[in-house]
């Protein structure tokens, strides 16, 4: 013996459950292309049975949970790889700018000016008293100085350009961190009241992914459903619903990143675009600039020494040809009077001995045990190799990220076919439940009118 009213209730439960399932399906379809969205499944559970006499009767169905289908391990992996990918992206971008300054395949760089300078001395050696040839030597020296300046200024400008992006990135980081803290609060309170915080978790994952693109973060799950984010050398960024925003401060002419307590964590920023930018700014550029300075400085010293060993057109001993300097930015010709070029090795105006000796410096090991040409060639080969390595790594990383994303999509992404099938399924069940309701209703009517 069942109960008609019991059956009515069961039918009602079914209507409600299937209606809810339809809502979930409709939500999935609406969010089919939302980034970070994980498809949701209705979890339908059988209501506890009730005993009537010696028989157990089921009491219907209920929608106990709206479950998000996601693989949290995959999400974490994607976040980690995104850190590496962001770092490589900004490294490649910086190195591309740098390598453009020395693109000898298009004739940009120092090779042409270096050759021209030494060749002007060879020319002078054929006719040492010729004032035009002497002036040419000064002009070629000036052109070499211009080339050094362009390269040096170029590097400095790139450094300051990428330096300026640091505060912007840090403020984006802080914004995302505070979003995550808000979501933490919402998730904690939903979980506290026993609900599945699906959409919030999706949004938080997406925010963490975007944050990972900017900076290296460690994600630690806390028991209350919130995550703790730390960056740098363990400095807290988000704890529960609190944000510990990063700050920037100019120290030694460049932007340093400080945590909320004021500790300098710049050297701990190793991932994301911020990490890549800091690496290019603090390691790549200074290293290349230092090599360029070494080239300028060694050339200046060796050339001036040989120049001083010779005599100018007036028979006086040679003075400094280049301004004594240790940097490429300050490289320059010290002489303006063509007569002061010390071409002679014995004081006679027409002797070309010193001009030959000066020209011969091109093939002597005057910079770090190498000739100027070999040293320069090595420098640009180093720059090119760094750029090429970064690009290769970037490609590999893109491929890994693509694969992980595909895997994630396989798990979490909405399949329209699937949702269509579900739609039919729930609709049929709803129809059937409505039909049952209708039948039971008639029966109830009959029952009520039995005694009439």
């Amino acid at each position: 013996m069942g109960s008609l009213f019991g059956s009515l209730n069961v039918a009602l439960q079914s209507l409600l459950a299937n209606q809810a399932a339809l809502e979930i399906t409709s939500n999935n379809v609406a969010n089919a292309n939302t980034p970070g969205f994980s498809r949701q499944r209705p979890v339908l559970t059988e209501q506890p049975p009730v005993q009537i006499g010696s028989l157990l009767f089921g009491t219907g169905v209920s929608l106990s949970q709206v479950q998000s289908v996601r693989d949290q391990v995959l999400e974490l992996r994607i976040q980690q790889e995104t850190q590496h990918s962001g770092q490589l992206d900004s490294q490649v971008s910086g190195l591309d700018q740098i390598q453009a300054l020395f693109n000898e395949t298009q004739g940009v760089g120092l090779q042409s000016a270096l050759s021209k300078f030494f060749n002007s001395l060879q020319s002078l050696s054929t006719d040492p008293t010729n004032l035009t040839l002497r002036q040419n030597v000064l002009n070629a020296g000036q052109q070499l100085a211009d080339a050094f300046h362009q390269a040096s200024t170029g590097l400095t400008r790139i450094k300051s350009g990428i330096d300026q992006t640091v505060p912007q990135t840090v403020s984006q980081v802080n914004q995302l961190a505070s979003e995550i803290a808000d979501l933490n609060a919402k998730i904690a309170s939903s979980q506290g009241s026993g609900q599945e915080p699906g959409a919030f978790v999706d949004q938080r994952n997406e925010a963490i992914r975007q944050l990972s693109n900017l900076v290296n973060v460690s994600v630690i799950d806390a028991k209350d459903g919130t995550v703790t984010l730390t960056t740098g050398n363990g400095s807290a960024l988000v704890v529960g619903n609190q944000t510990f925003g990063l700050q920037t401060q100019v120290i030694g002419g460049v932007q340093h990143v400080l945590d909320a307590q004021g500790t300098d964590i710049t050297t701990g920023i190793t991932g994301g675009t911020l990490g890549g930018t800091i690496q290019v700014r603090d390691q790549s550029v200074p290293s290349f600039l230092s090599s360029l300075d070494q080239l300028a400085s060694s050339l200046t010293t060796a050339f001036n020494t040989q120049h001083a060993a010779g005599f100018d057109l007036n028979g006086a001993a040679g003075g400094n040809f280049f301004n004594p300097t240790t940097t490429a930015a300050n490289f320059g010709v010290a002489i303006t009077d063509p007569k002061k070029v010390a071409a002679s090795s014995d004081g006679t105006a027409g002797n070309n001995g010193n001009a030959l000796a000066l020209a011969a410096l091109q093939n002597q090991n005057i910079v770090g045990g190498q000739t100027v040409t070999a040293f320069y060639a090595n420098l640009i080969s180093t720059i090119g190799s760094q750029a090429s390595d970064a690009k290769n790594q970037q490609q590999a990383e893109d491929s890994v990220l693509q694969q992980l994303t595909n895997q994630r999509n396989a798990v979490s992404r909405v399949s329209l076919d699937e949702e269509a099938a579900n739609l039919v399924q729930y609709q049929r069940a709803y129809d059937a439940a409505a039909r049952v309701f209708s039948v039971i209703n008639d029966l109830t009517d009959v029952t009520i009118n039995l005694g009439k």
């Binding site: 040492p128 105006a349 027409g350 040409t373 595909n406 999509n409 798990v411």
Partner: protein, 297 residues
């Protein structure tokens, strides 16, 4: 749950499409620029090699230029020496005439005058300048090397120096580009001006003519001997030029090997990658836009 596939086809196909396009672009860029390497990162070691190669090419071009300017000067020197040799020849025949004992004082005086004129001619020729620089002055090229000096036994004094300038015309090849006047005209026992001076004196006085003739002969031989310097040096310069031409050809080939595009290969790459791209695009277009929704009534 059974194995579920990634429902998002576009996210897997779009990157592949991007790569196809990239290959087409790369092949096109190679063909249009003729370069396989257009940035440092394309091939860092090739670009390093390019720097060395280009520097060698620039140096070879400079050597060619140096040779050209030296050749001009040497040719001027050689032709002025030619004039000097002719003048000395004339003086020698005058001397031989003067040795004939049958000449009268007046006739000998006439000969003396002509030899005197020749001497002045030779002094002027020995002071030849090329583009304003005296070619027989050693390295003291801004000062006239031969001056008239009555205190000198020959009446002419050399005020240049004995230095020689060298010019580089090859990697380790240096060529002297001048012969000092002292070597050519003031050899010991073969001093041209002394000989001419003595011949004039001899013709005027009527004695010592054979001795003067012998002196002149010796001086003349020396000049001819020293003159070979110019012929030899010009030959060396021609040979150096030939080497440089050959070197330029080698360097150009080396440059192509380093950074030049293999056009045949690039054209093939272009055809292949275009085919792949078109196939990908066609496949893309045929991806079913249908889902189950289209079939539900």
């Amino acid at each position: 749950m059974s194995l579920r596939i990634n429902p998002d086809l576009f996210s897997t196909l779009l990157p592949a499409l991007g790569q196809d396009r990239q290959r087409v672009n790369t092949a096109l860029a190679q063909i249009s620029s003729g370069l396989r390497v257009t940035s440092l990162s394309d091939d860092p070691f090739a670009v390093a090699g390019l720097v060395l190669n280009q520097t060698e090419s620039d140096t070879a071009a400079q050597f060619t230029q140096s040779i050209a300017s030296v050749q001009a000067r040497l040719q001027t020197a050689d032709s002025s020496l030619n004039s000097i040799v002719q003048a000395l020849n004339r003086a020698i025949s005058l001397g031989i005439q003067g040795a004939n004992g049958t000449l009268s004082d007046t006739e000998r005086q006439q000969l003396a005058n002509e030899v005197g004129t020749i001497k002045q001619q030779v002094v002027d020729l020995a002071n030849t300048a090329f583009q304003g620089k005296y070619i027989y002055a050693g390295t003291a090229v801004t000062t006239q090397p031969y001056v008239l000096d009555s205190t000198s036994p020959s009446g002419v004094r050399y005020v240049g120096n004995n230095s020689v300038n060298n010019v580089q015309v090859g990697q380790s090849e240096f060529v002297p580009i001048n012969a000092p006047g002292s070597t050519i005209f003031n050899g010991s026992g073969a001093d041209v001006f002394q000989a001419l001076h003595d011949l004039v004196a001899g013709l005027q006085s009527g004695t010592g003519i054979p001795a003067a003739n012998a002196e002149l002969s010796a001086a003349f031989s020396n000049v001819n001997l020293q003159r070979t310097f110019y012929g030899n040096t010009l030959d060396r310069l021609s040979a150096a030029n030939l080497n440089l031409s050959q070197e330029k050809v080698t360097l150009t080939q080396q440059k192509t090997d380093l950074v030049g595009a293999d056009l045949a290969r690039a054209a093939t790459d272009l055809a292949q990658s275009e085919t792949t791209l078109n196939a990908s695009l066609a496949a893309f277009g045929r991806i079913s836009q249908n889902s189950l929704f289209n079939f539900l009534k």
